[in-house]
């Protein structure tokens, strides 16, 4: 149902939700499948199977998708006190395979669509290679700076789950809160205007919607999460994941990998994992990611070891 008073593509509307709508419209116009967030807790949009698993496949594969992904990083929680740090935030994720020749230009046009004027701002591509030890994935690219602020992570994937990507996908990850803070000229994330509706009419800010969650989850992540239970759940997820891999089911097995990964992040936030144990946990999650990637490739008809 269209809102009578608002147009999502109105360049003047800088509300958080209008940014999402504009990005969705823009990337849908580029031929992307618009997906919804994955329904499991993940640390970043990259973990969505539409990115990880779809990065792998046959050499003539084409895959283009875009979606918002709520991302959880328990250690980044600050009880809602820090103007820039959240344990739960949103990424807008684009994955296009094979990477198009003109992707840099297309990406820049997406910024223009958000109202960032190249004649007013300094946009730069600063080296930042990406590596995810839990996913066994890596890529080369940049962080994109707008007037010194990182607004996007731009990565050409080279490897996922330990397998070479061929063709090579390109991943764009917009940090929505930062981008919104930028276009709204706001210095505290909680002051972000979410919907562009005046307060008197019931309009909501980021604070109205998420502050309580930041406080409560910080308390849970740092103080209350029961590490014995988490440890047990981690082992269960690993066991289930391995069983599903045995059965040749890539997608359900990958869900268990995601669960294990989030449980590890929670354990990490509780500060009970030593450096040596840390490496071992990461290795266990990576084994699941690898196994899922392998099963996925098989299911696509690729020849794998």
């Amino acid at each position: 149902m269209p809102s009578a008073s608002k147009d999502a593509n109105d360049a003047k509307d800088t509300s958080f939700q209008s940014l999402i709508l504009k990005l969705q419209t823009f990337w849908a116009d580029q031929g992307c499948v618009l997906l919804q967030p994955y329904d499991l807790e993940v640390g970043a949009g990259t973990f969505h199977p539409a990115t990880t698993l779809r990065s792998l496949g046959l050499s003539d594969d084409i895959w283009k998708c875009a979606y918002v992904q709520p991302s959880r990083r328990p250690t980044d929680g600050r009880y809602g006190d820090n103007p820039n740090r959240l344990q739960h935030y949103y990424q807008f994720q684009v994955l296009i395979k094979p990477s198009p020749d003109d992707i840099q230009d297309t990406y820049l046009r997406s910024l223009y669509a958000l109202g960032i004027d190249k004649n007013q701002h300094d946009i730069r591509f600063v080296e930042d290679d990406w590596e995810s030890p839990t996913l066994g994935a890596s890529g080369l690219g940049w962080e994109v700076w707008c007037d010194g602020m990182e607004v996007t992570q731009f990565t050409y994937f080279q490897q996922v789950g330990g397998y070479e990507c061929n063709p090579v996908p390109v991943e764009l990850t917009y940090g929505l809160e930062r981008l919104a803070m930028y276009v709204q000229g706001v210095e505290n994330v909680f002051d972000l205007d979410w919907d562009g509706v005046p307060e008197a009419d019931g309009g909501k800010t980021y604070r109205d919607i998420f502050h309580q969650a930041e406080v409560e989850y910080s308390k849970y992540n740092f103080e209350l999460a029961d590490t014995d239970i988490l440890t047990r759940h981690f082992a269960d997820a690993e066991k289930e994941g391995n069983a599903l891999l045995e059965a040749g089911l890539a997608l359900p097995a990958y869900d268990q990998c995601l669960k294990a990964s989030h449980l590890f992040n929670l354990l990490d936030a509780r500060g009970t994992i030593s450096v040596t144990e840390r490496a071992a946990y990461i290795g266990r999650v990576r084994a699941l990611a690898r196994g899922s990637a392998r099963q996925w490739l098989r299911s696509q008809g690729a020849e794998v070891d």
Partner: protein, 698 residues
């Protein structure tokens, strides 16, 4: 003579890789030209974030004709071989027979006609692109790559008319005569004829291809902006290089830091600015950090940079607000109270936690403090606290500030300044150009920290091999060497320090197998060999003759680096005199004769000569001189009067020379010959007591 112009246009090349890439491109192309027998006058290469550019001047248009001589089989060789040779030659090759080293061979002169350079450049460049030594390269799209980032176009012109198509993949051509300007300011494509035309048109299209010129502009403009507000730019050549690699069209702007953030330690301000945002800092007349920063944008904006400045100020404000939060929070807890938390931080799986490490370096203080002239209590205190800043919020956010923050927090806890400084300086020197601590407590702590690591990692077999040195042990050893030599510390490394450090590890890890182990011995001797190696590198870089140090080191048992250097210096001085030079010649003569005769006879002549067999006068004089001088030399050496020991050695020069002039060693009488060889051995070993002269290179 013709000019080659090459431009490779790609997506943004990491700034830190550009300088190397420029050198590599120039080297690879000029080497390839040489291989093709092509001369050139001059080659220059440039880089921008999006381009690698090369211009080579004065290449001939045609390869020179060359005639090459090939040698075939010997005349009279089996027919098959001769036919094979003939078949390998072009039809018009002339074959002749000629003598070479006593045999007659077939020789053929093969004339190779030079081809047009235009025809061979394409493949030459493709080969270079394919094996270009990027530190890290990538693939993109479908089967594109590798290159540092997606490669979009290659301009290749040879002279004003010829353009050369570079085909990296079938069906994918480039605009070989056209390029494009600045990404935002001038994105249109235009034709370029030669380098002069290229450079001029690009500058018009808002791209300055020469990094040196971009640096110059940045410095000049930044200087102007600073001057306007009575400030100066903080010198930072490394940052300048990096920034010049991030922009094609530098636009220098100045921003302001909020006054309420200026109370943060200057290191925090500069780290946030420099490492995270790549801003230059500005200083006031007194050299203090001012509340301004310089940012270099890559584009001109219609509002003269207003929004760019505002945006950058906001980003910096957010970063510094974070830092202020940590600064205020961290100081609510003392370093002392943080030390227990270090038990949960693993230093290395087999060497325990960070707490274990700081306990070891605390205990090691007793063995090192005195030699450094430091108060052992202060060294211990500093050792206890030096790692405690690892768990502070600020170090978590800015890891490069470890140590530096420890100092601030120690001072805020009321620790003595010596202790605080030692905490800040204990990682130093971090490399050959880093400042070396000079304050006693700092020296002692810096030594302990490194020696503990060296001994620990050597004990568990984690020695550096080849290019692998994951724990930076080479740097640690160099640090120890510099700390000792620059501060002239008298410290018996192996016997005291390595042993003590090993025992501390042993006790913590439970390595002891029996009551009293000597496990430290092999570790210590490995380490001394490692140090000898590092010392060699260190001295070579300083232009010191290492063979003189080696000659002293080779005597063995020396683990006091200051004494070692004093002895080596005395030796160098002596060898620079005529006496020294002469005695070295005599030594070599004695050593050579002995080597030959010992090998021939299959025995050594190490035993003492028989005095009753001395018959020539010169022989007797030499023996008498040695008898009186050698004990004196020994006592001079043990009293560390090294110059004197060398002077005493000089007294042997004449008798030794006379001996060689007058006495024949290899006489017919076997008993006499044997005795003289034994005498030669005595000369050699007398000199060897001072230094191993055989290590000295002519």
């Amino acid at each position: 003579m013709t000019e080659l112009l090459l431009e490779m246009l790609s997506e943004e090349i990491p700034a830190r890789m550009q300088a190397r890439a420029v050198e590599d491109l120039k080297r690879l192309v000029t080497e390839a030209l040489n291989r093709e027998d092509l001369t050139f006058e001059c080659a220059k290469a440039y880089a921008t974030p999006r381009r690698l550019v090369l211009v080579v001047d004065g290449i001939p248009e045609t390869q020179p004709d060359v005639s090459e001589e090939r040698r075939g089989p010997q005349v009279g060789a089996p027919e098959k071989a001769v036919d094979g040779f003939k078949n390998s030659l072009p039809a018009d090759a002339e074959i002749e027979q000629r003598e070479d080293k006593g045999n007659t061979y077939y020789f053929a002169i093969v004339e190779k006609k030079g081809i047009q350079v235009e025809l061979l450049l394409g493949q030459l460049i493709i080969d270079i692109i394919r094996r270009f030594p990027w530190p890290k390269s990538m693939n993109w799209g479908v089967d594109h790559g590798p290159w540092i980032r997606p490669l979009h176009n290659i301009v290749c012109r040879f002279g004003p008319t010829a353009s050369i198509a570079i085909t990296l993949e079938p069906g994918r051509g480039f605009r070989t005569t056209e390029t494009t300007g600045h990404k935002f300011l001038s994105p249109d494509w235009f034709e370029v004829k030669d380098f002069a035309d290229y450079k001029k048109k690009l500058e018009k299209a808002k791209v300055i291809i020469d990094p040196a010129k971009r640096r110059e502009i940045i410095l000049k403009e930044a200087g102007k902006l600073c001057g306007k507000v009575g400030l100066v730019l903080k010198d930072d050549p490394e940052l300048l290089d990096e920034i010049a690699g991030l922009v094609e069209w530098p636009v220098v702007l100045m921003g302001t830091i909020d006054d309420d953030l200026m109370y943060l330690p200057p290191e925090v301000l500069t780290t946030a600015m420099r490492h995270h945002q790549k801003y230059f800092a500005c200083l006031d007349k007194g050299g203090n950090l001012a509340n301004r920063f310089i940012v270099v944008a890559n584009t001109e904006t219609t509002d003269g940079g207003k929004q760019v400045i505002a945006g950058n100020e906001r980003v910096l404000r957010a970063r510094l607000a974070d830092a202020r939060f940590f600064w205020d929070q961290d100081r609510k807890q003392t370093l002392e109270s943080r030390t227990n938390g270090l038990a949960g931080r693993v230093f290395h799986a087999r060497l325990g936690s960070v707490l274990d490490k700081s306990k070891r370096i605390e205990a090691l203080a007793a063995f090192v403090a005195e030699a450094c002239g430091a108060d052992a209590k202060q060294v211990k205190r500093a050792a206890r606290l030096c790692k405690a800043d690892h768990s502070t919020g600020m170090v978590g956010e800015f890891p490069e500030l470890q140590g530096v923050m420890g100092r601030y927090y120690a001072l805020s806890d009321g620790e003595p300044p010596e202790v605080a400084d030692a905490i800040a300086e204990h990682y130093a020197p971090r490399g050959p150009n880093d400042a070396c601590p000079e304050k006693p407590v700092s020296i002692a702590l810096a030594l302990n920290d490194k020696i503990d690591s060296l001994v620990g990692f050597f004990a568990i077999g984690e020695k550096p091999t080849g290019s692998k040195d994951p724990f930076a042990l080479r740097r640690a050893a160099l640090g120890v060497i510099r700390l000792i030599l620059q501060n002239k510390l008298r410290l018996p490394l192996a016997a005291t320090v390595f042993k003590a450090a090993y025992r501390l590890h042993e006790k913590q890890r439970g390595w002891e197998k029996e009551e009293e182990t000597e496990g430290w011995l092999p570790v210590s001797s490995d380490l001394m060999a490692f140090f000898a190696d590092r010392l060699k590198v260190y001295l070579r870089e300083r232009g010191v003759r290492y063979d003189h140090v080696d000659a002293v080191f080779a005597l063995g048992g020396e683990d006091d680096l200051v004494r070692l250097m004093a002895r080596a210096d005395a030796l160098s001085e002596f060898l620079a005199t005529e006496d020294g030079e002469n005695l070295l010649t005599a030594y070599s003569r004695a050593a050579n004769i002995l080597k030959i005769e010992e090998k021939k006879d299959g025995r050594s002549y190490a035993k003492a000569p028989d005095p009753t067999l001395y018959c020539d006068g010169e022989e007797k004089v030499l023996v008498t001189a040695m008898a009186s001088v050698v004990p004196e030399i020994d006592s001079a050496v043990s009293d560390e009067r090294f110059s004197e020991s060398m002077a005493l050695l000089a007294a042997l020069r004449k008798p030794v020379d006379d001996f060689f002039d007058a006495v024949t060693v290899n006489v017919d009488d076997p008993a006499l010959r044997e005795n003289r060889l034994k005498l030669l051995n005595k000369i050699r070993s007398a000199l060897d007591d001072v230094a191993d002269f055989s290590r000295i290179e002519g």
